[in-house]
Symmetry: C2
Subunit: 503 residues, 2 copies
């Protein structure tokens, strides 16, 4: 057997966190950079994670009354101009289609031809194109609410990209709803951020805080943006999902008008909400370790991998034993779906094979050889704990669902502990500066985590926040309602926010 | 109750088939044209059909060993130039991204800015971008086969569009596989066209013929293109899916090279295969009638709709009775998934409500009022037959799965009968001309259907085919192997093809 390296991933998290992240993605075969600037290739193992996320979220959207539909990839340039803040937010980084064919270039190769009368934007988000359609659909209060979600690709021409976290093209879902009343639209906005929090906590095993964005951090064109914020292992914040109450801004820009029950003409109230393949990045950074990817069982493409160990003479007996074990495991249901078991009988050195699955994060690894068979037992390793223990076959079969749930819970608890250990309340600027200033110049990534602070005025804090590269993440729903004094200015402050460095 | 119109769709199929198609889409709320030229909005009812198709196909792809992945939306222009036939096939109709931001135009509004060094093409199909990635993945015969599928949107700048059948942007899946040997790649090409035929026949209830395209009709860059061809109700052919054996054309253009077991460097053999939202168009045109959409149960978003009929005093009793009926139906499984039942209790006139579901094609409609309750029975209407019959509740519950299967089969049989009634063998040009010349100048759509003919040379037939607007659909797998004489030239002909007008 190949000698196991001390750690499968180099550098480790402590050595170079950003580079560790890239190396985990590589070692786990999740994705890679493509020949197209800023776009990535999502490889099968990474795409299965996204499929599992999609399935779970889609079920939650449907359970809350939403239906899926599909709207065009392209947005006419003039549509984007209608909502002033919105265009300001997206015009600077969008892919613009200007021609509709290629023709031979006299100097060789091809060149664009067939110029369009009006350029088309590849959607960076679809409020404008979907809103234009809704304006036709909505005539009367009887047409409301409209509760639609779209699974799609979008493009934002990011200059600095990082796989899953920030790519020019990414996959996401975007919900777009229309309501007759302000109260109903606000209720929808809240409901969907709760769905996202539920998904993050119970599927991703990722603790999150629900809160409202400050005006400077809102979605361009929104009246209110709610977000869920998670803490990564380098103690930076990651915004994992947003839900926007758009007020009547988009309905006024796009004339989404309805006749109310009393006969008056009224502008509708709209919301939008989305999560993206960024969640895969969040998943990687929340749970993975220096041996590679760690995935919570509820999202794992494979729950259990079984590695047969045999010499030629014991081959058929071991494989038969394993086959019956795999069937007994697959017959069980974990949260409504059959347990996913892979038997890896590839001709490969044992150490290499083991590390293949460790790096890919399979929650449970079983090794079974002739000696285990004799004892009617298996050798079991939990990916989250790392060490192997023998376990009687019957005990495994009886307890496997519980075991998967235990792994899921333990990943959540560990992430929650990290967040609690790295969250403080700060009341003055000196402590704030100390907290966010790296202790060790060699490791600029290592710094404090989340700081809960009362603050008076977002605008006046900007120089300090820019200097320290800190942002206001959100005003948490669970924040202390009591007013206090602003940590920076000492002025009376009604609200408390979470401050953090962020992805 | 509102008086039922004679037919819900105007014009009828006989009056104006192309317009009837548009009106069915409208009446069934499947899709609509968008403000973006050539792009459509797929509405929830239409998108659910696509989701059901996706789920079924995806399961079939996975059962045949494929995995999903995701590749970039954009293709650098230079990639397209590498395969000569391929660029010829797609350069004339593609969306070209030339800029990456918008800036204020001094004359008002916005204008494209930030010109790209190399233009990007929005993928019309992904052989080139996926091939470039595979070239990196493939080193040794151990890396083969690669069996990957992608669900994605693609863009082909069609000038004449028709909803679902031909749109600038459409949704599809594209499989892309790499093999060590020619035989294995050919086997894959055949296997996937069989998967498509299985899906068309057993899920869509749509009879199809499997065959090979003639050289003039092949996918640009393919060595061989297999297709499934279906007959629509106007007797035109619709190509519903294709599977391409690409030989070494793309591996040579993109350097997909591997070291064989014996150590030699060899070009790999590749395939690609796809079906698209065009299938929704095929589904509409295969089964729908002059009252609207008809959908086979296995793909229906809802299998059964229950319409309560009551006066205020009987309301709660009727709803309670229906609730228990719906539960008893939902508890049953139709081909592995629970039966999908909707209770439509909207406050709406009975006739209007009934026609709403007729036009949308729900396979079974139940009406239940106090009198039915007394007899412990329901009033049942099959969408495919149109008439209502009383049925004891217990009989319905006991036979509902069988009934859905019967509807599915009857739709297949009806479509198959149409195809048999409109397929002939033709051996001379005069009969060929007569067959494809409309009998009635007022109804140019009405003409013969499929003609099976021996032919000698594709090229020399072109003037005749162009004149009659007829194409060679395929050389059917099941064709008579015996050679004959060409229907047009009288020359010896080894092969028989299906000739038809086509979408």
């Amino acid at each position: 057997m190949a000698k196991a390296p001390k750690n499968a991933i180099s550098p480790t998290r402590a050595e170079d966190y950003p580079e560790w992240y890239q190396q985990v993605i590589r070692a786990a075969d999740l994705a890679e950079n493509s020949p197209v600037r800023g776009c990535m290739v999502i490889k099968p193992w990474g795409y299965q994670l996204w499929e599992n996320m999609q399935r779970a979220l889609d079920d939650m959207f449907k359970a809350t009354g939403h239906q899926n539909a599909y709207f065009p990839l392209f947005i006419p340039m003039s549509f984007l101009e209608k909502e002033a803040e919105h265009v300001e937010g997206f015009a600077k980084e969008c892919a613009v289609v200007t021609h509709h064919r290629l023709e031979p270039d006299p100097e060789g190769g091809l060149r664009p031809a067939g110029e369009l009368e009006e350029p088309l934007i590849v959607r960076p988000t679809s409020e404008t194109i979907i809103g234009a359609t809704y304006a036709k659909w909505v005539q009367s209060y009887r047409d409301l609410p409209i509760l639609i979600n779209q699974w799609a690709n979008v493009v934002r021409w990011e200059m600095r990209t990082r796989m899953f976290l920030r790519t020019a093209e990414f996959l996401w879902q975007e919900g777009h709803t229309v309501h007759a009343t302000e109260a109903e639209a606000i209720e929808e906005t809240e409901k969907m951020i709760d769905v996202y929090a539920d998904f993050a906590r119970n599927w991703m095993a990722m603790p999150v805080t629900i809160g409202a964005k400050t005006p400077g951090e809102r979605f361009p064109g929104a009246v209110e943006t709610l977000s869920i914020e998670a803490m990564m292992q380098d103690r930076k914040a990651l915004q994992a999902g947003t839900s926007h109450f758009l007020g009547q801004n988009f309905s006024k820009a796009q004339e989404i008008v309805f006749q109310s029950e009393s006969g008056s003409r009224e502008y509708a109230w709209t919301t939008s909400w989305g999560v993206s393949t960024r969640l895969v990045g969040a998943l990687i950074m929340t749970h993975s370790d220096d041996d590679g990817f760690v995935v919570p069982p509820r999202l794992a493409p494979i729950h259990i991998v079984i590695l047969p160990i045999y010499k030629e003479e014991s081959r058929s007996a071991v494989l038969e034993y394993i086959d019956s074990l795999a069937t007994a495991l697959r017959d069980q249901s974990f949260h409504g779906a059959p347990i996913r078991v892979e038997v890896d009988d590839r001709d490969m050195r044992g150490g290499e094979k083991k590390w293949h699955h460790v790096k890919r994060g399979v929650p449970i690894r079983l090794e079974v050889g002739p000696k285990d068979m004799e004892k009617d037992s298996v050798f079991l390793a939990r990916r989250d704990l790392g060490k192997s223990v023998p376990m009687p076959r019957q005990e495994l079969i009886a307890n496997v669902v519980e075991l998967l749930d235990e792994i899921q819970q333990s990943l959540y608890d560990k992430a929650d502990q990290l967040r609690r250990d790295n969250t403080v309340t700060i009341t003055n600027e000196k402590d704030f500066r100390d907290y966010f200033t790296p202790q060790d110049p060699e490791s600029p990534e290592i710094h404090g985590g989340f700081a809960w602070c009362h603050f008076a005025d977002e605008e006046s804090l900007q120089p300090l926040l820019k200097e320290l590269k800190v942002t206001i993440r959100c005003i948490p729903r669970e924040a202390n309602d009591a007013s206090g004094t602003c940590f920076a200015t000492g002025k009376p402050a009604a609200k408390q926010a979470i401050f953090a460095k962020a992805y």
